[in-house]
Amino acid sequence: MADNSLFLVMITGQVESADFPLYDDLYCRVSVVYGADWLLVSGLEEGTSQITKKTKDEKQKFVWNFPIEVTLKSTNPHGWPRLVLAVYGLDAFGRDVVRGYGSVLFPLVPGSHKLQMSMFVPESTSLLQKFTSWLLGTRPEFVDPKFVTQSDGREVTRVRSQGSVSISCNIMTKDIATAGYVVSSTVKT
């Protein structure tokens, strides 16, 4: 495949902080999801952050500063990389409970970007289940955190929105214009 044309997308950035009122002791799992025509050149596509407590000030932020650095090569913009975040936290009994899922498409435009990502968690189907899940610490979870990247099957779920995560990322592309794709509004001919 060496002689084949392709373009490169390099993503560097970090999951900076999160805003989850009412919760504490959160960590997040980061993964980068991409399509079939993409190939990871370097970097890690998955990672788990440290557990952080919220700040003591009135902002009550969770700061992770968890770096993301991936370089991908591709032949097809279909399946442009997405960032998938799953935030977990410890509940009062120290059990791991999911606090939010979220997914965001990495910007197509090269440059520095700040992303704000709103998170959600699946809801229990009934009040009784809600109670039992609270009691047993087994909150409803998605079978696969990557479920949030796809549109299939969303209609059967009920979610509650909670919290948000802010991400900063820098995008660099190489040879994407030569492949005939225009990704920025200012086109250099």
Partner: protein
């Protein structure tokens, strides 16, 4: 009671009375909202009024009684209202008492503020008010803050309530103390205290309060002294209660009665009763629709909501403006209003996004035409002529009037209407003459149609003549008057000129006289008079006739009436005097109306005079000269020097005055004309032409005429239509006038806007503008007008004149076009005629196109053509991948450019062709290829169907969630706790199933638990082997019968169990085999496509001692392990996948003869009968059953739940009634009996639903299988043969092939043709054969081992009920305790379907008497069985199998197997024993025939066995393809023989049946030389 009055106006007076009474009685019950409560109230009031007499005497007893009654009704009403309002206490509206309260409310508020005022003073005030209202009972409530809350006043009120003023002091002190104490308390503690007290009051209902107030408040004298101090404690909670309720709404819920009272004072809650009619000005409502004005339909609103809203509005300030003049709420926008009352939404413009486009403004002004076209408008202002000007002298005024008259005169002259009408009259008269002549000549016969027409014409003519004559008279009179007027004005001018002494204008009237011939004219005149006279006479006569007729009718009527009355009078006379009164009455009514007066005869005497006078008045008298008038401007105007100073001033002013004009386009000034001096004839000649380059739509072109400093007037010019250009534009004259006042005191000028003294007329400056507007035509002849624009769309849409212009109103096409564009409201009656017109024209208009295209724009969205897309390799690759074509599905990194796509060689069809080419071999391979192709076709068909129905994900697929514990699971778990424990008998737990649709499973294992085997063949003891094998001869007999182990092979990977002992070994070992999937993707599609088979082979491990030297035996062990194949069975992976777990006892396919082994345990001498018995009890098998069984459990880890079968509704040819019945039937039984499923509709090859019984019909088996004589037909061996034939037809799991979505049921004909099918095809064929043989047979649908859902055939033979496994050909009598069929769901035959409703479903325990309705529920019960026709053909034709082809196949197969064998033994030399092969070959046909006994076989082999140790076995199988056979042989592990001296023997025999159904026999053996 306002509300009550509204709701029931007819009871108004009653209610008022009641209210009055209540006031009198000081009854303070709550008003009740609900009507039922009202009714009860009425009853109450009745009782109250009855008891009123008693009350007047103020008897305590009566009061008590009343109170109790009230309480009762109150409770009832409250209960009712609670019920009606759904638990929320109904809260009454403000009532009369409340209003009274309001007055008194003012006081406490002020007093609470003024804390310095003494309590007592305030109490006094309160007492006064209290006495005024004379009904105050409840405390006043207000919304107040907690801190400002003045408890004091509350206590005051109540304390004042509690006793008469003079008795207060004692109580007052007490209460004040109380208050101060409570005031010092914190609010919270206070609240709690109140709560506590409230609780007390809740226990003691109002009864006491009422009682108390009754005694204390009004009827003071009656024993209030004693009770007061006690009762004051009771009041306290009541007071607190009210305050408390003000800020604690939670409390409200608990006690509805109290809340009712509270809420009624604080809240306005509208009831659903209609509000009183409100009109804007208080007058009577007027109804617009009655007056014929379109009011439109009000939107549908619930009447109670409507009423509530009305009530709210009535209450609120300024709410009345929401009521229209009809007294109803304004609910819809005024249909006559043009502008939307909705405010404009100001869209926020996102400045970051720049859009390039046309700016379209929503407002009317500034509408762009567009940038592309050049539009030029030419505005020509040529002249302004004043018809009146302030500087006009009196003479000028007259002259201008003269001019007007003259203009009228000339236009009249031009049209000459009078002479035209005269001519017309003449010609009409002539026509009448002619008609009269024709009629007069012939007999007056009305019967002739011609005459009829003539008379009709005559009437028409005379009518017309009269009209024309009148018009002519009028016109002539006008002409005459016109001349007279002109002459009068002229005379005035002349006299004015004389009187003023100068001439200011040059107008002059010239009158020409034309002398006429009197005689000639007189003749005409007379003739005219005469004819007119005659006509008039005729008319009068005709009129008289008509009148006479009417008169005659009236007379007749009158006479009738008269006669009637006379008769009555006569009859009355006969009657007695008693009826005198009545008679009088009748007389009164029956008075004769006055007799109709006959019309007077027409008087012709005066008529002639009248006509003559009229003629003189109107027309020119004969002999008078004809006057012609001409206006000239020839009079010389007196020079300015000779004029008086006033005139001189005027003339100077004229010279001084100058004007200019401004031109506005769309209200913006575009140009200005230069100053133009007023000429002496009062005109301004501008002669200006402005050429405008137009960007906006023209909406107005305005010309403003300006004096030196002030605007004189503005004139709107015509917006030219598109086709009007400078070439064809005519000068328009547009009149204007100005209302400004100008006076010239010392001048002869009359001024403007001032009343003219003489005639009282006000002369206003007026005039006309002569000019034109047109579009510019450029040099090429193109009109530079904007293209046809839809001004109509932008504004004035509803007004046809506005949008298309008055000029076009006569143009039908334009009107229709406008109608269609304007989107008129079809409901508006104003539009009815227009719409009618449109409908009419629409019908006439030919429809342009009769087709409709959805995608006519789609083509423009393509960026490349379809062919290009097809030819582009990259796109093809991408689309193939997205379609999920297996080869391309796992593909990653599809190259960026088509030129880089290299490994893309075959399209799908090409691939298939390649496959078929490869398999071109013998006839059977060919056939197989054809079948595969056919299957593929069907598969494609089904797949395309199921692809449309995307798998629907369920919540459990995407979200992991705890199961909610329901009663059954809870119960089960509790029961589990109680049930006895069997720690040594572990039970399998149900695992949670994982769906593989959304899950990324990385690894799937096959878990196989091999538990035990039963009745394995045991080794035959031969002298030689015993010596060699058994190391310890002492133990040989008892121990070494068999050392079996199980090898499981899947996907060419195998695992083995440990070696156990004996023919009934227990392994209890779990084996794990990994599952390999294409691309390692465990998607449902991939898993479904796995066609691999799990092979279970049972081997006997043989330890061969190969130690050559006996001397070393003490020190060395040199052994070789050999495995001997005992039996096998196989389960396709798909079965495991579909059933997710398989558990049970499987029958091992043990060859009928296994050389070196003995299947018949009973023959063994060492087994005692006891042992056999114990074995029987152990295994639960009868001794006659020689089969070997293996008990295993298979599942996959993690548990995979296959996609549920698609419940797709296929199209069908069945009757809808049947389909409905089937659905109902299935619904009734599915899920009711555990896992049992019933089905009545199945899918056929064409993808249509077919009723299941249609498949069953007697069909003939191949003739060589059926014996000739009928008696032996039901022989079990015959049936067995047939079953064998059916079982030899190759097996093809179609539910797997067809993407698991549905099972295809093929007809027997197709099945035999394809030679491929699964259980149901086999079962149907077998059942049909049996039916043909005259055997009562059914098909059982149920669950079997190992295939899962399966079909068996049930036959009711004289020997008993027998179950047949159609795919193996085995049969079990029902009485046998063990079956490979585990459960029976339902049965069917050609007539009916029976659902199993018995407690058990294993066939051994079932009652197969289908007539028993307790055990079986039939689909068609009773008589309604329609006996559906079959889909099968009645006679099957069988092809004779080609014997020579079979022979070739046989030899090919043998050669292939031998080659394979040598291939598998790549490290060893493979020797073939020819002799043994020949012997085996001879044995095989006899095995097929079933005539070979064990003894025959041993005797046949004895020669070889004497010199060799022979192991071997025959395998019998159906023929589908060679690879299956090879695989089977491979799995027996015969080739694994390590002995260097070993020789192999192999024989293949194929027994042909009809229709290319083949029975393949393979005999394999190993031979080792005996020492």
């Amino acid at each position: 009671m306002i509300e009550v009055q509204r709701s029931e106006p007819e009871q108004l007076s009653l209610k008022q009375q009641i209210a009055q009474r209540r006031r009198d009685l000081n009854v303070t019950t709550d008003t009740i909202a609900s009507e039922s409560a009202l009714r009860e109230r009425e009853i109450l009031e009745d009782s109250l009024s009855k008891s009123r007499s008693l009350e007047s005497s103020k008897l305590v007893s009566s009061m008590m009684q009343r109170r109790q009654m009230r309480k009762q009704t109150l409770d009832q009403s409250l209960g009712k209202s609670l019920r009606t309002e759904g638990g929320i206490p109904s809260i009454p509206t403000i009532n009369v008492e409340d209003q009274d309260l309001d007055k008194s409310q003012l006081k406490p508020l002020s007093s609470s503020v003024n804390l310095s005022a003494s309590i007592r003073d305030r109490l006094k005030d309160r007492a006064k008010i209290q006495q005024d209202s004379a009904m105050q009972k409840e405390p006043v409530r207000k919304l107040r803050g907690l801190r400002n809350r003045d408890l004091q006043t509350r206590f005051d009120i109540e304390s004042e309530d509690s006793g008469p003023p003079e008795e207060r002091p004692a109580g007052d002190d007490e209460i004040t103390e109380d208050h101060t104490e409570s005031a010092n308390q914190s609010t919270t503690s206070l609240r709690w205290k109140m709560m506590a007290k409230r609780g007390k009051i809740a226990e003691e209902p109002e009864e006491k309060i009422d009682e108390y107030s009754f005694f204390t408040k009004v009827y003071e004298p009656v024993g209030s002294h004693e009770k007061q101090p006690k009762k004051s404690t009771l009041i306290l909670p009541e007071v607190d209660d009210t305050n408390f309720a003000q800020y604690d709404s939670l409390y409200v819920i608990t006690k509805p009665e109290v809340v009712n009272r509270d809420a009624s004072l604080r809240l306005f809650i509208p009831t659903a009763a209609p509000a009183e009619t409100v009109t804007l000005h208080g007058g009577a409502p007027c109804f617009l629709d009655d007056e014929g004005i379109y009011v439109g339909e009000p939107p549908g609103v619930n009447s109670s909501n409507w009423n509530k809203m009305e009530q709210r509005l009535v209450q609120t300030e300024g709410g009345k403006k929401w009521f229209g003049i009809d007294g109803n709420m304004i609910v819809a926008p005024d249909p006559l209003k043009q502008i939307s009352s909705r405010p404009m939404i100001d869209f926020e413009v996102d400045h970051t996004i720049q859009r390039k486009g046309k700016c379209i403004s929503l407002t009317q002004t500034g509408k762009f035409i567009g940038e592309s076209s050049v539009n030029q408008l030419s505005v020509n202002i040529s002249q302004v002529q004043f018809s009146h000007h302030p500087l006009f002298s009196k003479e000028h005024v007259l002259v201008s009037r003269l001019r007007d008259l003259y203009a009228q005169y000339t236009s009249r002259q031009r049209h000459n209407l009078a002479s035209h009408l005269g001519d017309r009259l003449q010609s009409l008269r002539n026509a009448v003459q002619e008609l009269k002549y024709t009629l007069g000549a012939k007999p007056w016969d009305m019967s002739k149609p011609f005459n009829k027409d003539c008379v009709a014409n005559l009437e028409d003519y005379s009518e017309e003549i009269r009209n024309v004559r009148e018009m002519w008279d009028i016109e002539c009179l006008k002409d005459k008057n016109m001349i007279r007027n002109i002459l009068t004005v002229w005379k005035e001018i002349k006299s004015l000129r004389e009187s003023q002494g100068f001439i200011a204008t040059n107008a002059k009237i010239l009158v020409y006289k034309e002398q006429t011939n009197f005689a000639k004219e007189d003749k005409v005149w007379q003739k005219q008079i005469k004819s007119t006279f005659e006509e008039k006479k005729e008319e009068l006569v005709a009129e008289y006739d008509v009148k006479m007729k009417i008169h005659a009718n009236e007379m007749a009527e009158w006479k009738m009436q008269a006669r009637e009355i006379k008769r009555k009078m006569k009859s009355d006379k006969k009657k007695d005097a008693a009826a005198a009164e009545e008679r009088e009455e009748t007389e009164n009514t029956g008075v004769l109306p006055p007799k109709p007066v006959a019309p007077a005869k027409p008087q012709t005497s005066s008529l002639l005079n009248e006509i003559q006078n009229n003629a003189v008045k109107c027309r020119k008298v004969p002999g008078d000269p004809i006057l012609t008038i001409e206006l000239t401007h020839t009079v010389t105007i007196t020079p300015i020097e000779e004029c008086p100073p006033t005139e001189q001033k005027r003339r100077k002013d004229i010279v001084k005055s100058s004007y200019y004009g401004k031109l506005f386009y769309n209200n913006s000034e575009v140009t200005r004309t230069p100053n133009v001096n007023l000429t002496s004839d009062f005109s301004l000649s501008f002669g200006e032409t402005a050429c405008l380059q137009v960007v906006h739509w023209p909406e107005s072109i305005k010309f403003e005429l300006w004096g030196v400093s002030e605007k004189l007037s503005e004139i709107f010019l015509v917006i030219p239509p598109n086709d009007r250009h400078t070439g064809n534009a005519e000068l328009d004259s547009l009149e204007f006038s100005s209302s400004h006042k100008v006076t010239y005191p010392n001048s002869t000028a009359v001024g403007s806007g001032v009343p003219e003294t003489a005639e009282g007329r006000i002369l206003l400056t007026s005039g006309k503008l002569v000019g034109s507007t047109a579009w510019v035509k450029d040099s090429s002849g193109k009109i530079l007008a904007p293209a046809r624009q839809d001004i109509a769309a932008s504004f004035g849409r509803a007004d046809p004149i506005h949008s298309i212009g008055a000029r076009s109103l006569n143009d039908m096409e334009k009107v229709i076009q406008w109608i269609s564009e304007a989107k008129l409201d079809p409901n508006d009656p104003r539009n009815a005629p227009l719409l009618h017109l449109m409908n009419k024209t629409r019908k006439d208009a030919p429809s342009e196109s009769k087709y409709f295209r959805l995608d006519h724009l789609e083509k423009s969205t393509y960026f490349v053509s379809n062919e290009e897309m097809e030819n582009d390799r990259r796109f093809r690759l991408l689309s193939l991948r997205s379609q999920g074509v297996p080869e391309y599905k796992p593909m990653k990194m599809v190259p960026l450019y088509s030129s880089e796509v290299t490994h893309f060689e075959y399209t799908q069809t090409e691939r298939e062709e390649k496959v078929s080419l490869k398999e071109e071999g013998d006839v059977f391979e060919h056939h197989r290829a054809a079948v595969v192709r056919f299957m593929k076709e069907i598969q494609e068909k089904i797949a395309s169907r199921s692809r449309k129905v995307r798998p629907v994900l369920e919540l459990s697929d995407v979200v992991v969630e705890d199961q909610v514990p329901d009663i059954s699971t809870l119960g089960r778990s509790i029961a589990k706790l109680l049930e006895p424990r069997h720690p040594l008998r572990p039970q399998r737990k149900e695992r949670k199933k994982v769906t593989n649709q959304a899950v990324g499973i990385s690894k799937v294992d096959l878990l196989i638990n091999v538990s035990q085997a039963q009745c394995l063949p045991i080794r035959r003891r031969t002298a030689g082997t015993e010596q060699r094998i058994n190391l310890d001869p002492n133990t040989a007999r008892s121990t070494i019968q068999l050392r079996p182990f199980v090898e499981v092979t899947f996907q060419r990977k195998s695992v083995v169990t440990h070696v156990a002992d004996g023919p009934n070994p227990h392994w209890n070992q779990e084996l794990v085999l990994p599952l390999n999937v294409i691309n390692n993707e465990f998607s449902a599609n991939n898993l479904r496509e796995i066609s691999d088979i799990v092979y279970f082979n049972v081997f006997d491990e043989l330890i061969v001692d190969i130690l050559q030297d006996d001397r070393l035996r003490d020190t060395n062990i040199h052994q070789r392990l050999e495995r001997r194949w005992l039996g096998s069975f196989q389960i396709p992976f798909s079965t495991i996948y579909l059933n997710s777990r398989i558990e049970g006892k499987f029958k091992l396919n043990v060859p009928s003869t296994l050389m070196g082994y003995n299947k018949d345990h009973g023959l063994l001498p060492q087994f005692s009968s006891e042992m056999l018995m114990s074995q029987t009890s152990l295994t639960g098998q009868s001794l006659t059953d020689k089969n070997s069984y293996l008990t295993i459990f298979i599942t996959v880890e993690p548990p995979l739940a296959p996609q549920p079968p698609l419940r797709e509704v296929f199209e069908t040819n069945e009757e809808p009634r049947l389909i409905r019945a089937a659905a109902a039937w299935e619904l009734l039984y599915n899920g009711k009996y555990g896992a049992r499923n019933v089905r009545s509709l199945v899918t056929d090859v064409n993808g249509k639903s077919v009723f299941i019984t249609r498949y069953i019909s007697p069909q003939n088996p191949p003739h060589d299988l059926v014996p000739e004589d009928r008696t032996s037909r039901t022989n079990l061996t015959v049936l067995q043969k047939i079953a064998k034939f059916v079982s030899l037809i190759p097996y093809y799991q179609d539910s797997i092939a067809f993407s698991g979505s549905c099972d295809i049921w093929a007809t027997s004909e197709l099945f035999l043709k394809m030679l491929a099918g699964d259980e149901e095809e086999h079962a149907i064929l077998l059942c049909n054969y049996f039916l043909h043989m005259g055997i009562d047979s059914y098909i059982i649908k149920g669950v079997g081992i190992p295939e899962g859902e399966t079909c068996y055939v049930l036959t009711k033979l004289p020997e008993g009920t027998v179950l047949w496994n159609p795919s193996t050909g085995d049969y079990h009598p029902q009485s046998r305790p063990y079956h490979s069929l585990v459960s029976v769901h339902f049965c069917f035959n050609n007539e009916n379907i029976w659902a199993n409703t018995q407690l058990y479903d294993d066939p051994g325990r079932l009652d197969f008497n289908f007539g028993n309705s307790k055990s079986w529920k039939p689909f068609f019960s009773g008589r309604e069985n329609p006996r559906l026709s079959t889909v099968q053909i009645s006679r099957l034709d069988y092809i004779e199998t080609n014997l020579s082809a079979i022979q070739t196949l046989e030899s090919n197969l043998e050669k292939m197997l031998m080659d394979k064998m040598m291939e598998w033994r790549e490290r060893h030399v493979t020797r073939w024993n020819r002799h043994c092969r020949v012997v085996m070959r001879q044995l095989l046909p006899r095995l097929e025939a079933g005539t070979l006994s064990e003894e025959d076989q041993t005797s046949a082999m004895s020669e070889i066995m004497s010199s060799h140790n022979v192991t071997g076995f025959p395998i019998n199988m159906r023929y589908s393809d060679a690879s299956t056979i090879i695989e089977t042989v491979f799995s027996t592990n015969v080739h694994v023989a390590e002995d260097p001296q070993v020789e192999f023997a192999m024989a293949v025999y194929i027994h042909p049946y009809a229709n290319n159904v083949l029975s393949v026999w393979i005999y394999v053996g190993t031979l080792t030389k005996k020492y």
